[in-house]
């Protein structure tokens, strides 16, 4: 296998460089890893800092004498624009908060309005139902009035019938009397009596026909009453199942 390997100049160079770099890095690491280096570095930093402080101080002093702005003045002006930017940011955040507040408020309002609309719709539906029920109730009322009128008529008929019954009883008595008189033969009276009797019989026939018609009427009223009663049960307002 080793015979197949070819020499690559750059691969060798890379390998050597990496090796050398590592070695040198280790050497530098060890050479600087001591207190003396740290102290010397600190002294160097201090000296350089002192020098820089003096340069800056003199720079400011000369610039003040020459009445020209320094970088510090420019920086101060820039700071003001940064402050303005911060204020804008804070205002923007406040606007956000307001927007969020309004958004949540309008959302609450929307749900509230939705609830109101739902309630109104429900009320509308119920009022329509109530209206229909009211119309039914009115119809029932007129029917009831008709029934009451019918009952009054029936009562009048009853009174009439009672009177007729009394009259019939009277007629029966007259009949009996007539029979008695016929049996005792009283001719003058009989002729008059017979005429009266005929008249009364004719009246009786009329009364009978009236009674028959009344009975017919009563039967019809009863039938009407029976028909109306189930409807009455259905339309009673207190018995409504919908709410």
């Amino acid at each position: 296998m080793s015979k197949e390997k070819t020499y690559d100049l750059f691969a060798g160079y890379k390998l050597l460089s990496e090796m050398w770099e590592k070695q040198l890095m280790d050497l530098l690491f060890k050479a600087t890893d001591n207190k003396e280096f740290v102290r010397t570095a600190n002294i160097g930093l201090d000296l350089h800092s002192r020098y820089m402080e003096r340069v800056r101080k003199n720079q400011e002093f000369i610039a003040a004498l020459m009445n020209i702005p320094t970088k510090k003045d420019v920086a101060n002006a820039a700071k003001m624009s940064i402050q303005a930017e911060e204020k804008f940011d804070s205002l923007e955040e406040q606007v956000w908060n307001l927007q969020d507040g309004l958004a949540s408020f309008s959302k609450e309002n929307l749900t509230f309005l939705q609830e109101i609309i739902n309630t109104i719709n429900q009320m509308k539906a119920e009022s329509l139902k109530t209206k229909a029920e009211l119309a039914e109730t009115k119809k029932i009322k007129t029917d009831l009035q008709d029934l009451r009128q019918g009952l009054v008529d029936i009562k009048i008929l009853q009174v009439n019938l009672q009177e007729m019954c009394k009259e019939l009883e009277g007629l029966k008595v007259i009949q009996a009397e007539l029979k008695d008189s016929l049996t005792h033969q009283e001719p003058p009276k009989t002729d008059r009596g017979l005429e009266e009797l005929r008249q009364e019989i004719a009246q009786l026939a009329e009364i009978k026909s009236e009674i028959a018609s009344l009975k017919e009427l009563m039967g019809k009223e009863k039938e009407r009453k029976q028909k109306k009663e189930p409807e009455k049960e259905l339309v009673l307002p207190g018995a409504s199942t919908t709410k």
Binding site: Y13, K14, S17, E21, M25, R39, L45, S49, A78, I82
Partner: protein, 359 residues
């Protein structure tokens, strides 16, 4: 005969075409200006001072929970968006995440008083709030890299904002240990080495100083150059290398107040680990972190040691916590875009799949 064959195979066969390409590319690297970094398609959501909150929409949205990325104050923004094919942001948008990236910007002299507290409360927390509002999502995954991870962990432990997942990559939590020589750390801890006067003198530390500081930690870059010479014939590699080189040399300025706080509160007193850190009157207790946590370190990290990240696993209250080690370096983790690859399997299961929601 066999001796002739073996000699022939041993000697390098000169591939003229390959070599021409190699040296042309090298010449290009040496002479041409640094490449322009083209960011992943983005939209500005919020600006404050030098800070910008960028929104990178997903190419095809697959996850309901967006990702908020925080990088280190010591870096430039394009560390997480270095260009197509290597971008962490691009990798995440391709995988169906909406991404928010907080660009710290470059501080000027007027920002000298900005402390880490200002950065975390006034900038990071506000940006997260705005990202949540902009996305319309109920929760957001927070991802922090390097010092950005420390800041993300601090924010997650004090904020009331809804953080769904917390991802921390190469994050320093324990500052009593490090990759620098121990005597340096001892010097900072016992006050023998102080940057206070230096920070006061400069007010805002120039980017050159930060570049020197990183150079002091990793002074040699022979391996990086060797990598370039070795693979200079590969155009794609050279393009990536140039972008990485640009980022390495493009250091960031740092505000004096934040620098002092960084060294005193973190390196000197290790307040985060001890639970003594206070931000805006709120005590930073990592126990307050209850969301799912994913931490990963780099095995060849020369800036943040694995031991610096590990303590967070015991300090948080999260029941769902995962720790992984990535075989690579601190910078290659993000500049190669592998970060998105590592993060996706863990994050996708915790980001409410849109298809599942629809079904």
């Amino acid at each position: 005969m066999s001796a002739r064959v073996s000699t022939k195979s041993f000697l390098p066969l000169l591939n003229i075409e390959k070599e021409t390409k190699r040296w042309n590319q090298l010449y290009k690297v040496m002479t041409e200006p640094k490449p322009d970094i083209i960011p992943t398609p983005r939209k500005c959501v919020w600006k404050k001072n030098k800070t910008t909150l960028w929104y990178h929409p997903a190419k095809e949205k697959k996850h309901a929970v967006p990702v908020f990325l925080v990088y280190s104050l010591l870096n430039k923004v394009y560390i997480l968006d270095v260009g197509e094919g290597s971008s962490v942001v691009g990798g995440l948008t391709e995988r169906g995440y909406d991404v928010y990236l907080l660009d710290w910007g470059t501080p000027g002299l007027e920002d000298a008083d900005l402390t880490l507290e200002n950065y975390i409360i006034d900038y990071l927390e506000n940006a997260l709030k705005r990202a949540i509002r902009h996305s319309g999502a109920k929760e957001m995954s927070l991802m922090g890299y390097c010092l950005g991870g420390t800041m993300a962990a601090i924010l997650a432990s004090i904020t009331s904002l809804p953080i769904k997942n917390l991802v921390l990559a190469a994050v320093p939590i324990d500052f009593s240990i490090g990759t620098v020589p121990q005597k340096w750390l001892d010097g900072i801890q016992n006050g023998e080495l102080s940057f206070d006067r230096f920070a006061n003198a400069y007010q805002t530390l120039p980017s050159e100083f930060l570049y020197l500081m990183f150079k002091l930690i990793t002074p040699l870059n022979a391996a990086t150059m060797a990598n370039l010479y070795t693979r200079a014939h590969d155009e794609i590699y050279v393009e990536k290398w140039r972008r990485m080189d640009k980022w390495t040399k493009d250091a960031q300025a740092f505000t004096g107040a934040a620098f002092k706080q960084f060294f005193n509160d973190f390196y000197k007193e290790n307040k985060l680990l001890k639970g003594e850190l206070v931000m805006d009157g709120r005590k930073v207790d990592l126990k307050n972190i209850k969301c799912p946590l994913f931490v990963f370190s780099c095995s060849r990290d020369t800036l943040i040691a694995e031991k610096q990240s590990l303590p967070i696993m015991d300090l948080v209250s999260s029941e769902d916590k995962t720790y992984e080690v990535y075989e690579g370096g601190h910078v290659s983790l993000v500049l190669t875009g592998v970060f998105a690859e590592i993060m996706d399997p863990w994050l996708s299961t915790r980001s409410h799949d849109l298809q599942e929601i629809r079904s």
